[in-house]
Amino acid sequence: MSATFLALGLGLVAALQQPDDATRALFITNCAPCHGESGDGQGSTQLDRPARSFADGGFSFGNTEEALLRTISTGIPGTPMPGFDQTLDEGQRRALAQLVRALGPPTDDVETLGSQLDVHERPLVVRGKLPPIAEETDEHPRGLLIGTPGGLTFQYRTDDVRLLGVRLGDFVQRTDWGGRGGSALEPLGVPVFLCEGGAPRASFERPGAGDLLAKLSGSFVRGREAGLTYRLLEADGRVVATVTERVDALSTSVGSGFARHFRIESTGEAFPLLAHVVHPPDDATQPAWRDAKTLAFPAEGGVLRTILLEGDGVLARDRVHLSLEPGRALAFTLGVVTTLDHAAPTLERLRAEAGLAR
């Protein structure tokens, strides 16, 4: 059983502790090349943009010891910040987290709330009411979050299963553990990807029959894998296909992001299916670059949001075309290299590394 509750309030103690020589040596070896010996962000490694200055504090993904431990362990997808979970043991990583935290400005310690859920080695699925993911979007009384060990949170509405967006950071505050219950979850990560502004259309369409209702069949967590299963229903309630959707972080040579792994099976007949799961940045935006399995859209700051398709299906600008046949499951992976940060690929870099993207 994994410990679930994030015990805050240890930080003040940590901040008052002086790092020992061993921790200091770990810092010099592993952190200082980018972040500088004093933690001021002025390391010797050449980066597109300076690394975080610990002295300034204000960590994007949480400045609690647990949050820093997670960042140190798994890195920040889409940035040069690597994960150290393979190279340092947990005690070393925790010592570094305490040291990094102590380098920052004094913090008012958060009281123990006891209702924050944190993801450790195993993904975590949480059901609950979801607040609007973006301005002018709706709250969803039926919702679900999948938190991955890498710090990604996949946010779904489940009355008609649709991915609303992806967050990065701490997982979720269960505000419904206070009072009489029933209040909305408070996802803690920063949205790094919104599907059509956070209010996506139905995910699947059968040409001629219209949008299909995606009705939740369940969720699963197996080892480090997590996802959902659902059925696709026509308007008359007939189930025409079943879908398994697994999600995780994505790391490629041109940047990082997340991946959705679909497995779709017809319940009986052959029919074409459109999967509206590409979510291009904007309806009016044409790809800046594409090949058969790649779409790259311009996004803010001159970087690209890149869509990568593996497996079955034909990638169109805003959807994947599939041909379902009875008795044969189609499987494809849709990767999204997000515009999370400065390390997302520029057009030049993508062209140069075309073919290396996967």
């Binding site: 006891g114 059901r127 609950g128 009489r180 219950g181 029933g182 369940g218």
Partner: protein, 894 residues
């Protein structure tokens, strides 16, 4: 009389433990077991789900020593789990939004997969939309129940989405169908050996008290909201009324099989039938009912009369904690799952407990059978010969009102007299002749002096039998009346809170001197009932911090009605000082028969005055919430400050039981803030040990020192300003696009943002009075010395007395906007209140004072003299907000 008998019966009965032991399982550090469902695996392990959406497995739950129990987490991340059932070792949990099967694919006792069995019901997002379950029908289908939700009026249950207020039946393949309707908050479901379904519901609108229903398919059980999803209403496009009982209430409303006396049950959880084959004692086939507020388990026994169930209930085992769930273990132990978060109840408020028979047979009323002549009571053991005479029996019958109001008092209390008693040959059955028992009533009885030949006394002396029908053999025709009688609906609640100041709503501490006090949830410390444990929450105001002071209001009060809730730990001691000077003593006086001025409900003694003992000991026990209400008349003084009249408590009630009536208090009582005064603050003692309070409110009553005395009179210089009609209103300047109208009595502002100004714009030193009402979510303000907002600007300059009951802006009614914020929600939305604003220049600055319902809330000296003169104005803050003004008066100060 009867009430006092009940109170006596509720006092801790130490002897219960002689027959049924109670053990609490330890909870791992950092966890909270808010238990919503329990069942057992084939290997004897206990599985329980919690309101935190976790599922835990207890290894060896039947081990002799509960402290050795190993409790491990099986699943988490669910949205509540208020029902759990195991079928062939598969775990089914009812979440708020779905019925799920939890699957451990690899056998490591950690859930890998959560299958959605059914989610075919609506969830609109309101907090109250709990889903409860999860017993099974004889055909293997699951039974579950859906709470109504609440709209803008929290006390009116609504069914905005299917099938709120229904019981559903879900087949293992997920097929879901509505089964029966008419429920409000059906927290507990249970089936008997025959698979018949019984459901508890909770007091509220249309629910006078807590019923137990025998639920049959297609029937309707009385709460109207669910009818919105019946074909009749859907086809007609009609909705049920919030106030008017539906026609079906008099046609085919199903009566409750049993009404639980409110003194015993304030919030029932689930029920289970004793199918332990005698392992749990002599009550085979009877039901055991979880009761969380009073922290006990009730027992009930039903019989069929004219083809329908009705019957009797009894107290069974008390002082357990907030029992929401009960479940029988394979060996006949009764497991109790506790939770009361956000609901309140006897501590402990969470955790797992176990009740087991000691093997010693108690003397109890085993069954009560209604006969044409009266009752036949069967006891668990033979009684002493001639041990009960008619004089040893107290009997009363009553009914309830069926109406939209929250709960109903017991109505038509009628004493009944037993005329004869006959003990059977085996001395186990007592026939009691009681003329005058009416159908559609509850009959409640207490039997005194019942004992065995060996002198063992009856463990619980009372029963309450719901007489829906008299037996056929009575010769009476069946009645169509109900225990819950349809009555003309009372006036809508709007206005009910009028005149009150909610002193701890919203920011509970803002209006108080409160060092050492916290707004939190508290439970009795399971390791030491003389202390509290506290956690995040808003259920209580408790002195759980360092060196707590007395809790003293910032405002001063004169004549008043007072209402608050309190809870004491074991040995607790506190006191409520009206005007900071006259103390109503609060003390853990549990079980005391003789009570003095220093006991709970006493008015404490003064230096020479001997105090006033309570008329009765109304204190039910530590860990239990009580409501204290009082009416108080302040002392009077002449112009020279000489007292002309003593202070007086008109009455003091605890939980509706009168403990003081018309008590004159000639001097301050011990521990007072100072000498007697016309107006003083409310003070709650906080330095005599732990105490918890909640929902403290005062209704200021008229007295000579009130700031608002009736309608301002022209003779005193007051000028009524409100336009008489639309034409006069047209002459008032405006800014913005708000819409102002006048219905002849009331000025109404709505629509987009804007302001309405008095025609005159040169007011300087003035007093203003207004009678105002703001809607839920609305926001407005009463401005003095204001200048019209310039073109292109939304907000005018001036001093704004804020009007806001529930708009998210933290500054609420009583605030001088941005200068003297008031964070307490003193006035509920949709409630008329009297506003008084005084603005005058003084030597050191401009003083602006704001009073609500006659009590000064803000008094601010603006040394910058921000605004010199101007109009009065009313604000319309935003689309959706509605401000109503039923009077506006101004008086210029000398």
């Amino acid at each position: 009389m009867i009430l006092s008998l009940f109170l006596a019966a509720l006092l801790p009965q130490v002897s219960e433990a002689d027959y049924y032991t109670l053990e609490h399982f330890p909870t791992p550090a950092g966890e909270l077991f808010e238990i919503g469902g329990m069942d057992f695996l084939a290997d004897g392990r206990l599985v329980f789900s919690t309101r935190r959406g976790q599922v835990w497995i207890v290894d060896e739950p039947l081990a002799d020593d509960v402290s050795t129990a190993k409790i491990t987490l099986f699943a988490e991340g669910l949205w509540e789990g208020l029902g759990l059932t195991i079928v062939d070792d598969e775990i089914f949990v009812l979440q708020r939004t779905e019925l799920s099967r939890l699957v451990d694919e690899d056998g490591d006792d950690v859930c890998d997969r959560i299958d959605t069995v059914s989610d075919d019901w609506g969830v609109s997002g309101n907090y109250h939309e709990f889903a409860f379950g999860l017993p099974r029908a004889a055909n293997g289908n699951f039974f579950m129940a859906l709470n109504v939700s609440f709209g803008s009026k929290w006390w009116i249950g609504k069914s905005p989405v299917p099938y709120r207020g229904w019981v559903l039946q879900v087949a293992p393949d997920g097929t879901t169908r509505p089964f029966a309707s008419g429920f409000r908050s059906p927290c507990g479901l249970g089936t008997n050996a025959a698979g018949e379904l019984f459901v508890t519901d909770n007091q509220g609108d249309w629910l006078p008290a807590g019923p137990i229903h025998h639920v049959q398919e297609g029937r309707w059980y009385g709460h109207p909201a669910s009818l919105d999803w019946t074909p009749e209403y859907l086809d007609a496009g009609a909705k049920t009324s919030d106030e008017i009982p539906p026609a079906r209430a008099s046609i085919d409303r199903q009566p409750a099989a049993l009404w639980l006396p409110y003194a015993w049950s304030r919030s029932a959880g689930n029920l289970v039938f004793d199918q332990t084959g005698g392992a749990f004692g002599p009550f085979g086939g009877q039901m055991f009912v979880a009761e969380l507020t009073n922290g006990l388990v009730l027992r009930a026994d039903l019989e069929k009369v004219r083809g329908e169930y009705q019957g009797a209930c009894f107290l069974f085992r008390q002082q357990i904690g907030s029992v929401a769930r009960v479940a029988f273990a394979p060996d006949g132990s009764l497991f109790c799952g506790l939770t009361n978060r956000g609901w309140g109840g006897l501590g402990p408020g969470s955790g797992l407990a176990r009740v087991r028979p000691t093997g010693k047979l108690p003397l109890e009323m085993q069954r009560v059978h209604l006969t044409p002549e009266g009752f036949e009571v069967t006891f668990t053991k033979p009684l002493a010969p001639d041990s009960v005479s008619p004089a040893d029996i107290d009997l009363v019958q009553y009914d309830y009102d069926y109406w939209w109001e929250y709960g109903s008092p017991e109505r038509d209390h009628t004493p009944l007299a037993a005329t004869a008693t006959v003990l059977s040959a085996d001395r186990r059955t007592l026939a009691i002749s009681v003329p005058g028992i009416r159908p559609a009533r509850v009959a409640r009885a207490r039997l005194f002096n019942v004992a065995t030949a060996e002198g063992e006394a009856l463990l619980h002396e009372e029963f309450a039998y719901t007489v829906n029908q008299l037996p056929e053999a009575s010769g009476e025709p069946p009645t169509r009346e109900h225990v819950a009688r349809v009555v003309p609906p009372p006036p809508m609640r709007e206005g009910r809170d009028e005149g009150w100041l909610m002193l701890t709503w919203g920011d509970a501490l803002d209006h108080w001197q409160s060092q050492g006090w916290s707004h939190c949830d508290v439970d009795l410390d399971p390791d030491d009932p003389r202390r509290f444990t506290s956690r995040e929450g808003n259920g209580a105001i408790a002195n759980v911090g360092e060196a707590p002071v007395n809790f003293v209001s910032h405002s001063d009060f004169g004549d008043q009605e007072l209402r608050l809730n309190f809870m004491l730990p074991q040995g607790g001691n506190s006191g409520v000082y009206l005007q900071g000077r006259y103390e109503i003593q609060l003390l853990d006086s549990a079980g005391k028969r003789e009570v003095g001025y220093g006991d709970c409900g006493g008015i404490y003694k003064g230096a020479t005055w001997p105090g006033s003992p309570p008329g009765i000991n109304a204190f039910l026990g530590h860990g239990q919430w009580h409501r204290l209400t009082a009416s108080f008349r302040a002392p009077r003084f002449d112009a020279e400050g000489n007292k002309t009249e003593n202070a007086r408590f008109l009455w003091v009630d605890i939980d509706g039981v009168r403990v003081q009536e018309d008590v004159e208090v000639p001097e301050v009582t011990g521990g007072a803030l100072g000498a007697e005064v016309a107006r003083g603050p409310l003070m709650l003692q906080g330095d005599h040990g732990p105490v918890a309070y909640s929902d403290i409110r005062i209704k200021p009553l008229w007295d000579e020192t009130s700031r608002v005395v009736g309608r301002p009179d022209a003779a005193d210089g007051w000028v009524a300003l409100l336009p008489e009609d639309e034409d006069e209103l047209d002459a008032w300047p405006r800014s913005g696009d708000s819409i102002w109208s006048h219905d002849g009595d009331v000025l109404i502002g709505e629509g987009p943002t804007g302001h309405l100004y008095t025609p005159r714009g040169d007011y300087t030193d003035i007093e203003v009075r207004a009678r105002l009402k703001i809607n839920d979510g609305g926001n407005s303000g009463l401005y003095v010395r204001t200048a019209r907002a310039p073109e292109g600007s939304t907000w005018p300059a001036g001093y704004e007395a804020q009007v806001n009951s529930s708009f998210p802006d933290p500054q609420k009614t009583g605030s001088l906007y941005s200068l003297a914020p008031v964070l307490t929600h003193l006035v509920p939305p949709d409630t008329w209140f009297d506003y008084a604003v005084t603005c005058r220049d003084e030597a050191d600055g401009t003083r602006v004072s704001i009073a609500v319902n006659g009590i000064v809330i803000s008094d601010f000296l603006d040394v910058e003299r921000r605004h010199a003169a101007g109009h009065l104005a009313l604000q319309q803050h935003h689309e959706g907000s509605v401000i109503e003004c039923a009077g506006l008066w101004v008086r210029e100060l000398e």
